[in-house]
């Protein structure tokens, strides 16, 4: 079918960057498959156990950039035991042995060791970019290896990792000749930083655009860094506490004023409200503001700050803001697309929380809103219906009432109608998280209307297997389904086993599923790994007693069969 020589096709394929599209291209015919495979540079693997590194290497010899995700999503909330898996070592070892010239590695929820970081840094000469999100298992020694050996490092981005901080010296390991840094984010490190080394590093990085500091970096160092890097686009402050009448603070003010390119501001890991006026000059340019760690900032100061940020597109904030403050956001931030409101007090003892009123105000004032994460004290159907009407563009909608099964605060009814309105109105909804009192009815709505839904998170909801079935039957594009504490059982799980092959994974914990059912499922579907995670201390989990309820089940499609690195408490059926 090729009317063109391979080189032409390859050139055409260069324009196709999305993974999905490239996968489709590869399926057209043998020669397209071959051309695509040799020219593919970037691969995304959503579940590291779905394929092996060897197969990856065999198929894509030109691989430069790899993204891997490990643990299931609920590992974020400590649902998954510590050493369940998700080790990156085998991948790095295999890549190191091959002739792949890896340049970028992005990992999420994986276990990374210092040894593998060291191996990575020594093997790949052109390595440029390391992004670790919610990973663990490494220390600052591993970072030191990266700093020392990756001479052309452009990006070191550590987001919310659990890093064993051996303090200090890793920053000094960046070579004097390393001038290529574009992005440096070490906000999650807990230990001290060699401030002098940091200043020198920033001074010799003319391309630095993104800098996120940890709490150990004081405000006067920030001022010095800003003087060196006035072209920054993304800044994460460390500690933002100072005496407003001091010389250093005034210097900071003028340093900040020079930074006209800053569009994204975060950090404030420690904050004194009196100091916030220093950033007013740049607030008008901000498109992203993250105050979700700023425990000391609330009330008037917070609202006043927001009022300066007219161009904001993404806002992450604590619920100190209150409904009233959300009203200020609604009237100020007309370009707002994404809002995340985190709880300052997760127990919800009724103090600084937001309610449905705040959300309604936001929806009325910010019609471009398409992504929401909202922890709230209470919610009502009426509010959700209004929100659905005001904002039909939601792509991600995640709501968490602090009490997981709280009904409509006014009518005491389940929140079925409210969420139903959301899925009906937001035709492009891809991700949904539910909470509150919910019956099977909400799942009927989801199955009926949420045609684009890819990820669904359910907790303490539903009445019967019907709920789960509505979803499995209705949501054709579903990729990830995670369920906890719902009365869904064997009948629902076994109804359509083929469905799971079309999905990345399914998590069910504290539901009604029995061991026998999982065994049946595993038998019917050899292309799935059905993992049972059992942590019970007192009772031995008897692998022969099929009637036992399974506490945690995680199943996912794979082409490489059961994994070999599962710990004792994980059974792969």
């Amino acid at each position: 079918m090729n009317y063109f020589p391979d080189e032409v096709l390859e050139h055409v394929f260069d324009f196709i960057t999305s993974h999905k599209d490239r996968n489709s291209v590869s399926l057209v015919c043998k020669s397209w498959y071959k051309i695509e495979r040799y020219s593919r540079q970037s691969v995304f693997i959503g579940n590291c156990y779905s394929i092996s590194p060897e197969r990856l290497i065999a198929r894509f010899p030109g691989l430069k950039s790899l993204t891997l995700k490990g643990k299931p999503h609920f590992a974020d909330f400590n649902l998954v035991p510590y050493d369940w898996g998700g080790f990156v070592d085998p991948w790095i070892k295999a890549l190191a042995k091959s002739r792949i010239g890896l340049e970028e590695l992005r990992l999420k929820r994986m276990v990374v060791s210092d040894e593998s970081l060291e191996l990575l840094s020594r093997t790949f000469v052109n390595f440029r970019s390391l992004v670790l999100v919610s990973c663990e298992g490494f220390t600052t020694d591993g970072l030191a290896a990266i700093a020392s050996n990756c001479r052309f490092l452009r990006e070191l981005d550590l987001q919310e990792n659990e890093v064993d901080d051996h303090r200090g010296h890793w920053l000094s390991c960046f070579h004097e000749s390393c001038t290529s840094l574009v992005s440096l984010n070490f906000a999650c490190l807990k230990g001290e930083i060699n401030l002098g080394a940091l200043e020198r590093l920033v001074a010799r990085s003319p391309n630095l655009k993104s800098l996120r500091l940890n709490r150990a970096v004081p405000l006067d160092t920030l001022q010095k860094l800003l003087m060196r890097a006035p072209e920054l686009v993304d800044l994460g402050t460390g500690s933002f506490v100072h005496d407003p009448s001091s010389e250093a603070y005034n210097k900071l003010k003028s340093a900040i004023q020079r930074c006209k390119s800053i569009r994204s501001l975060s950090g404030f890991l420690e904050v004194a409200p009196q100091c916030m006026s220093a950033i007013y000059p740049i607030c008008g340019n901000l498109t992203f503001l993250n105050l979700s760690y700023a425990l000391g900032l609330h009330g008037n100061k917070l609202r006043k700050l927001i009022q300066h940020c007219r161009k904001l597109q993404r806002l992450w904030i604590l619920d100190y803001i209150g409904d009233k403050g959300l009203g200020v956001v609604a009237s100020t931030c007309k370009e707002l697309q994404e809002l995340r409101v985190f709880p300052s007090d997760p127990s919800g003892a009724g103090n600084a929380a937001v309610t449905e009123e705040g959300l309604v105000l936001i929806s009325a004032g910010c019609p471009k809103l398409n992504s929401l994460l909202y922890f709230c004290q209470q919610m009502t159907n009426a509010a959700l219906i209004t929100v659905a009407k005001n904002c039909p563009n939601f792509i991600r909608f995640r709501l968490a009432t602090l009490d997981p099964i709280k009904p409509d605060a006014v009518s005491n009814q389940p929140l079925d109608e409210g969420f139903g309105a959301i899925v009906q109105s937001c035709k492009g909804l891809k991700r949904l998280s539910l909470s509150g009192l919910l019956t099977d009815q909400v799942f009927l709505y989801i199955g009926m209307y949420a045609e684009q839904l890819e990820m669904l998170s359910i907790a303490f909801a539903g009445d019967s297997d019907k709920g789960m079935l509505y979803v499995l039957n209705g949501c054709k594009k579903l990729r990830k389904l995670e369920i906890r504490d719902c009365p869904f059982g064997n009948a629902a799980l076994l109804e359509d086993v083929g469905k799971y092959e079309t999905m990345r994974s399914l998590w069910m914990s504290s539901c009604e599923v029995t061991l026998g059912c999982c065994k049946i499922l595993a038998k019917k579907m050899p292309s799935l790994n059905v993992e049972i995670i059992n942590e019970s201390e007192q009772m031995e989990f008897n692998l022969d007693d099929d009637r036992q309820k399974v506490d945690k089940m995680y199943l996912y499609r794979t082409v490489v069969g059961p994994r070999k690195d599962a710990p004792e408490f994980v059974w792969i059926l």
Binding site: N23, L27, G46, F74, K190, E247, A352, R396, E535
Partner: protein
């Protein structure tokens, strides 16, 4: 188009490439999903409450009694799933849900559980974020258990302690020139002036103000009996009523930015540098300036198949309540569930 059959051609690895590619593509087909590159807090589900097998509860947290209890042991431990429960209290509806949510098996473990157990793993917040906030709050408020009454004092000093490295300690305040600011008491048309630099701390300042305003005018009956008892002498040691909220009046100040703030929030030095004037406001009017202290207990109690871990952390941090209700100072004891597994 040759090689047309791309679907479901079974066979060996060396056979149809389309099978291989399709399979491979299946695992690599999803884009980064709808999640942005930003590290995100993903809403999800935490630990199961009382999940697991008969005698055992995988994990649960204990909450203090006055914690907003989400769960109480089901009054009727008979699991009768009624879809539209019109129970008005969240706690009983939660217990209903738990009962119907397939935890029939744990009904007895629920009963065995404490009267007020929080749902573990809810709200679904990334462990990293929880830890981070806890550590920050600890730093803000210092170690130890502080009652609300003493809160100001401790909080001030601890914040000072924390920030001592961050801002230049202007050393000895003794040699400073005077800093006079106006002070007004609500209801009294004529204000006074006071030299802030003549005072070294909030306590001293409050004492002076009490002496100045709250003792000399008999028509104003505010201060509690304690002050009258002590006859207006300088009692430096006892906590000032103006600062701790136990009087009918609240001490506020206007700062450089024009905002009215509650006195006592920030270190003394910082206060001096930003205060423009003072106002002694009636408590009933001081909405939006009230202070609430939260005391968080972090406690984690869980058992695992191979390990047993218990964590207790006590956290104090203060928040400003900017919502409508009257300002009150309350101490809340809350448990914050935190689970980390250790083998």
């Amino acid at each position: 188009m040759q090689g047309g059959s791309v679907i479901g051609v079974g066979g060996s690895e060396s056979g149809s490439m389309s099978t291989v590619s399709r399979e491979d593509n299946m695992v690599m087909s999803s884009e980064g999903s709808s999640c942005p590159d930003e590290s995100e807090l993903e809403l999800g589900l935490g630990l199961s409450l009382g999940g697991g097998f008969k005698m055992h509860q995988v994990s649960r947290t204990l909450a203090a009694k006055n914690f907003l209890s989400v769960v109480s042991p089901p009054a009727s431990s008979s699991p009768s799933p009624s879809p539209s429960s019109s129970s008005s209290s969240s706690s009983s509806s939660l217990s209903r849900a738990i009962v119907t949510a397939g935890t029939k098996r744990t009904a007895d473990s629920m009963a065995a559980a404490n009267g007020s157990s929080q749902v573990v793993g809810w709200p679904p917040i990334r462990a990293y974020r929880i830890n981070s906030m806890v550590n920050q709050a600890k730093g803000l408020a210092g170690e130890g258990f502080n009652s609300t009454m003493e809160n100001h004092k401790n909080e001030t000093s601890v914040v000072e302690k924390n920030t001592i490295g961050s801002y230049p300690n202007n050393g000895n305040a003794k040699l400073r020139k005077s800093l006079f600011v106006k002070v007004n008491l609500d209801g009294i048309p004529i204000g006074r002036k006071i030299d802030l630099n003549g005072h070294e701390s909030y306590e001293k300042l409050a004492k002076t103000l009490e002496d100045m305003f709250l003792r000399t005018s008999p028509s104003v009956n505010l201060v509690g009996s304690r002050a009258l008892e002590h006859g207006g002498k300088n009692e430096i040691t006892r906590p000032s009523k103006l600062l701790d909220g136990s009087s009918d009046f609240v001490l506020t100040y206007e700062d450089k930015d024009g905002d009215w703030m509650l006195v006592g929030d920030v270190p003394w030095e910082m206060f001096l540098s930003s205060v423009k004037r003072l106002r002694i406001m009636r408590t009933s009017e001081a909405t939006g300036l009230g202070k609430q202290i939260h005391i968080l207990f972090l406690s984690c109690l869980h058992s695992f198949f191979h390990s047993y871990l218990r964590l207790h952390q006590l956290v104090i941090y203060s928040t400003k309540n900017t919502t409508e209700p009257e300002t009150k100072k309350q101490a809340h004891l809350e448990y914050y569930s935190l689970k980390s597994t250790v083998r």
